[in-house]
């Protein structure tokens, strides 16, 4: 039937299309989107057999049509068999389902009956249960009530007995029991206080507890009791709602009064030592005056203390440590025991007592320590004597060591670090004191040297008046000795100071391993602050001698200048590096911070030495210049008599130069001089005067050639080097002497040029110059220099001469040798 109609639809489809056909049937059409509208598509929904057939007929040949037809028939057949199989399968399944449903219907009916039976039973049970509880209810209520009454009665009994019990506890001093009992009852009493009877009990309890608290407080205040008692006491008081802050304060104030007493003792000692220190010999005089002001203290204590006036710093610190610091430690320990370390229970813990108490303790310790420190610092500041450093160091060590106890007790406290700072400050101060002591020492030794120099100088004056070359020998041998002794003094002093300062870094000293003492103290403190500063000071003060000594020739004796110059030079060559090496070795200086290098110091010392030596040359040159100038300026050179002698001033010049030569020779090496012939004193001079000199100013006598002189002298100058008169000298005797002679002769020249000479005036100058020539050449590095300057002098004198007729050379020589 229907199968007959459908086959035309499904007939031409292939087996593969079965699935899609079913989908189509079950309304899953929307999924087959690619459904073509082509009427020729045999599987499409819009299949039109007519169109399809027409199309086939039109397009295909007969053979193809035949093939197509057989193919289609084959497909239709397979589709039919598929269809049949499907129908059979579905039929069987439907039959078995119907059987199952019938069976289930029977089972459900049986279950329904059983459920009915169950619900009837449950109803019966509920009924019974209600019945039983109804009968038991009355008795249960009674029992509950009775037990409530019983507890209440027990509580009441406790309450009524409480005052008596408390009293008993009080008598037995069982404070802990009393407090715990009271604590238990307190809330109840508080709650029912509106009832008269309870009120009575509460009041009684209050009174007793008040009494108890009083006793506890008393006990606490006495403080004599053992630490354990005390702690118990504090705990009880805390439990009694005694405010913890108040307790702390009380405890601390109590402790403070004791510690204050210690501090006052220290202060009194300090003042006493002050009085005795500053008073010294004046104690006797000042005492009566100060009596009326503070009659009790000064009049009574002073006489007693004056014998033991020298309570040294060690004793002072000892006392401070033994009394104040140890007491302080005790206080801290017990306080911590009481308020901080004690385990707190319950509500007390929540009050944060340890924090509060700790804060208070810190403030307390800090204030007291600050006072103690100020006292210690005052005492340290009084330590001005630099003689024995070990006492101070030991005192500081003890001071520092004892403070460590506090740091152990009170880990967060600033006190130990402040103590270290005090030690550091004291050390710094000490270095400064040593520096100034060294400076004073240096000045004092210089004064000594000055006196030593001045003393023989007087005898020189006397001796030279009586006349004699022995003068210089008497006066000067002490120079090298003075130099070595001065230099040794300074070095020894410096060494002893270093040794003293070294105590600060000794291994057994607790603070020596602090970073300051390991690093800064050694490098910045000792090396820079002490040693380098001192060396710089020496150079500085030496330079000051050059400046302040003034232009007048100066208050500084020239010998001192020479000596200092040599000292500075010695420092430059060896002493500075020696001292610094010594320091570095002793103090194991690790240069974290830049330090002054040895070379810089040496350069400074050398500069100072150079300056001093230059100044020495200048001063000595000026002294001789002054003599020469006076001798030229004061004489009437036009109307002078024929020279018979070398003028005395020239002898004096040679004498002074000789003594300077000796003086310088004592401290400085000979130096290099240009080679000269063995008998330069005579030969060169004769050459100088007979040949060169003659040529030089012979032409000036002939009026025809007025230009020759200047021409010749200019030619001469062209070939000679320029002479710097006040020029730096080298560190040797020859150079120094050359400098002095240059200055003197140049002065001589300039003075001569300002004068006018008569015939004999010129001749006197000739004689004088010859004399100088005879003696001065040996002192200088280059004798040509002396020749040149003397040439210039004689030449200038000849120029300035109204009647230039020079003296015969032989006569000059005779006069000079005679003089």
């Amino acid at each position: 039937m229907s199968s007959a109609t459908t086959p035309p639809d499904s007939d031409p489809t292939g087996r593969r299309q079965v699935h899609s056909m079913l989908k189509l049937y079950y309304g899953m059409n929307e999924e087959g989107k690619v459904e073509s509208l082509d009427p020729c598509d045999i599987n499409g929904p819009h299949f039109d057999p007519e169109v399809y057939l027409n199309k086939l007929r039109k397009e295909c040949s007969l053979g193809e049509l035949m093939d197509h037809e057989s193919c289609t028939v084959k497909q239709i057949r397979s589709l039919d068999s598929d269809m049949q199989t499907l129908v059979y399968e579905n039929y069987n399944k439907f039959i078995s389902a119907t059987d199952t449903i019938r069976k289930m219907k029977n089972d459900f009916k049986k279950m329904e009956d059983e459920m009915d039976c169950l619900s009837a039973n449950m109803a019966a049970i509920t009924e019974f249960s209600a019945h039983i509880s109804g009968t038991l209810q009355d008795q249960h209520a009674q029992i509950t009530k009775l037990s409530g009454v019983h507890t209440l009665l027990r509580k009441l009994q406790f309450l009524f007995e409480l005052p008596a019990r408390l009293n008993k506890c009080l008598e037995l001093q069982a404070y802990a029991q009393a407090v715990s009992a009271h604590r238990r009852a307190r809330c109840v009493l508080q709650q029912y206080s509106h009832m008269p009877s309870f009120r009575g009990i509460q009041d009684d309890c209050h009174v007793i507890m008040e009494q108890l608290a009083q006793q506890l407080r008393q006990k606490f205040r006495d403080g004599g009791s053992s630490a354990k008692d005390l702690s118990e006491c504090v705990e009880l008081l805390l439990q009694l709602d005694e405010p913890a802050e108040e307790l702390c304060d009380k405890f601390l104030s109590h402790a403070q009064s004791r510690l204050e007493a210690d501090l006052q003792g220290l202060e009194a000692e300090l003042i006493d030592s002050l009085v005795t220190d500053t008073g010294g010999g004046l104690v006797q005089k000042t005492n009566p005056g100060s009596n009326p002001v503070s009659p009790s203290s000064s009049s009574t204590t002073n006489p007693f203390l004056s014998p033991t006036a020298g309570t040294d710093i060690l004793e002072f610190i000892d006392r401070g440590c033994n009394e104040f610091v140890s007491n302080l430690c005790l206080v801290i320990a017990s306080y911590q025991e009481l308020f901080i370390n004690h385990p707190q229970e319950g509500e007390l813990a929540s009050k944060k007592i340890p924090e509060m108490a700790n804060g208070k303790l810190h403030v307390f310790v800090d204030t007291l320590a600050a006072r103690y420190f100020s006292l210690v610092e005052r005492r340290i500041q009084e330590e001005k004597g630099v003689g024995d450093n070990s006492l101070l160091v030991r005192a500081l060590d003890r001071f520092h060591r004892r403070l460590q106890a506090i740091s152990k007790l009170l880990p967060g406290s600033a006190v130990p670090s402040q103590g270290t700072e005090i030690v550091v400050r004291a050390a710094r101060e000490r270095i400064k004191q040593y520096l100034s002591a060294l400076q004073t020492f240096y000045h004092d030794s210089l004064t000594d040297v000055r006196q030593a120099l001045a003393a023989p100088r007087l005898s020189v004056g006397g001796a030279s008046a009586s006349g004699g070359g022995a003068t210089s020998k008497d006066a000067t041998p002490s120079l090298p000795e003075l130099l070595t002794s001065l230099s040794n003094f300074i070095l020894n002093q410096l060494k002893s100071v270093l040794a003293s300062v070294h105590l600060f870094t000794a291994k057994d000293i607790t603070f020596s391993n602090k970073p300051y003492f390991k690093g800064e103290f050694c490098s910045q403190g000792v090396r820079e602050g002490l040693v380098v500063s001192f060396i710089k000071f020496i150079c500085q003060s030496s330079r000051q001698y050059c400046e302040s000594a003034g232009d007048r020739g100066g208050s500084t004796p020239p010998a001192l200048l020479l000596l200092l110059s040599r000292l500075c030079l010695d420092y430059e060559t060896s002493t500075i590096s020696y001292i610094l090496t010594l320091t570095d070795e002793q103090f194991l200086v690790q240069h974290h911070t830049p330090v002054t290098p040895v070379t810089a110091l040496c350069a400074e010392a050398r500069e100072a030495a150079q300056k001093l030596l230059n100044h020495y040359v200048k001063v000595q040159g000026l002294i001789i210049s002054q003599m020469l100038r006076k001798s030229v300026e004061t004489r009437d050179w036009v109307n002078t008599i024929e020279p018979r002698n070398v003028r005395a001033v020239m002898k004096r010049v040679v004498e002074d130069t000789t003594s300077i030569d000796v003086q310088v020779g004592l401290l400085y090496e000979e130096g290099v001089r240009k080679a000269h012939s063995s008998d330069s004193s005579k030969r060169t001079f004769s050459v100088y005067s007979s040949s060169r000199q003659q040529i030089r100013y012979a032409p000036s006598y002939t009026p025809s050639a007025p230009m020759d002189t200047s021409l010749l002298s200019n030619i001469h100058k062209l070939f000679s080097e320029r002479i710097d008169i006040f020029s730096p000298v080298e560190f040797n005797k020859v150079s120094v002497l050359t400098g002095i002679i240059k200055i003197s002769l140049k002065t001589f020249l300039e003075c001569v040029r300002l004068r006018t000479f008569g015939r004999y005036g010129l001749q006197q100058i000739q004689v004088d110059c010859h004399y100088l020539q005879m003696y001065l050449w040996r002192f200088v590095s280059d004798e040509n220099l002396v020749h040149f300057l003397l040439d210039e002098i004689v030449g200038s004198a000849a120029h300035r001469c109204l009647d230039p007729s020079p003296m015969e050379q032989s006569v000059i020589e005779v006069i000079c040798e005679r003089g």
Partner: protein, 389 residues
């Protein structure tokens, strides 16, 4: 304009010489007067004209037969008039006298026509008058009234200050007032300077190591710097622009600058020479430039900016006001200059006793050494432009 500095111009005199002055009244030509020192020959005054453009020297010589010249000074009003201090030997006594002279009118024309002849036939100075001083001893120097009309001079003789009035065209000199320095020992003025400030009423003198200021109206001492130098004070000069400042030099090789209101300490001290400093001169226009001559044969030109009247470069004057804004910007950029040595001139081979700035050209100066060598130098151009611009 070439930037490198011109070489110094050197002129040699036949005689030794100490006296040098610029012709003060001459403001057009660069002209210096040199007085010679010779005991045997007639002394001369050399008139040195410097031709800046050609870098050449024209000289004229005038005879000064009165004696060797120790000091020379030109009148500020009349360029033909000058004074000399000369030494005269009579009866075996040497006395230094002073006189006022006039140059003969022909010297100038003569020299220009035939410069070679002038030295052969030198003309003689015309004596106007003697500053008769026999009563007072040797004259150290004669000072004209600065910026004056050429009628007043001061002579320093031994320990006397003599103020002269020149009358009848300078042919007659009368002493109008005197002052005498009293004290123990033989006091003797070595140098002096008439201050251009305070209406020319002040004089400063040096004797030994002391510097003294004088009020010429009352002829009394107004201040005294004892021990101004360690040794003899050789020369003095006033700062032309700062009325209380003066410079001094002496045998301690130092040049010191003083504020005469605070005489305890010098304002500044230079120690550059290696022997006595004989002469110190402020530049007339730019007082930071200072010239010193010394017997170490050197001339040193220093730039003392810090104590000059123009410590921060040049002053803004009227010409600059028009372009003021530019200048202000420039000024801000300028660092205050440092005191420094500008140059050391080593052309001399003997002691230099005198240095002088030209009166006509502020950038030019002359120095004279004992051997008769006159050297004319200029301020280095770089510095000149730095000061000017």
């Amino acid at each position: 304009m070439k930037m490198d500095d011109d070489a110094p111009v050197i002129y040699g005199l036949e005689f030794q010489a100490r006296a040098l002055t610029a012709q003060t009244a001459e403001t057009d030509a660069i002209r210096f007067l040199v007085g010679t020192q010779s005991l045997k020959f007639d002394n001369q005054i050399h008139i040195i004209d410097f031709d800046d453009e050609n870098n050449m020297i024209n000289k004229s010589v005038l005879l000064h037969d009165a004696g060797e010249i120790w000091h020379i000074s030109g009148s500020p009003a009349d360029k033909a008039v000058l004074t000399t201090c000369y030494s005269k030997t009579s009866e075996n006594r040497v006395l230094t006298c002073a006189a006022v002279w006039r140059m003969p009118p022909e010297w100038e024309s003569g020299s220009h026509e035939s410069p070679d002849d002038s030295s052969n036939n030198p003309q003689t100075l015309e004596l106007l008058c003697h500053l008769d001083n026999t009563a007072h001893g040797s004259v150290a120097c004669v000072l004209w009234e600065p910026l004056g009309d050429g009628k007043r001079v001061i002579s320093l003789a031994e320990n006397h200050v003599l103020l002269w009035d020149l009358q009848e065209s300078s042919t007659k000199a009368t002493i109008s007032s005197t002052a005498t320095l009293e004290g123990k020992g033989q006091l003797k003025f070595t140098a002096g300077k008439w201050s251009p400030h305070h209406n020319s009423t002040q004089l400063v003198t040096a004797n030994d190591t002391a510097i003294r200021g004088w009020d010429l109206r009352s002829m009394s001492q107004i201040y005294c710097i004892e021990n101004a130098h360690g040794q003899l004070v050789r020369d003095l000069d006033f700062n032309p622009n700062k009325q209380y400042y003066l410079a001094s030099c002496g045998d301690d090789c130092k040049v010191k600058f003083w504020d005469v209101r605070h005489i305890n300490e010098p304002v500044k001290c230079l120690e550059e020479h290696s022997h006595w400093v004989w002469s110190v001169r402020y530049n007339h226009s730019h007082d930071q430039l200072l010239l010193t001559g010394s017997s170490d044969s050197r001339v040193i030109l220093s730039n003392m900016v810090s104590i000059s009247s123009e410590p921060f470069g040049h002053l803004v004057d009227d010409d600059d006001l028009s372009d003021n804004e530019e200048n202000q910007q420039e000024d801000k950029g300028k660092e205050p200059l440092q005191d420094s040595i500008i140059a050391t001139y080593e052309e001399h081979e003997d002691s230099v006793y005198a240095v002088e700035w030209s009166a006509a050209d502020p950038w030019l100066f002359a120095s004279l050494s004992y051997d008769g060598r006159l050297v004319i130098n200029r301020v280095p151009r770089a510095l000149k432009y730095r000061i000017l611009l």
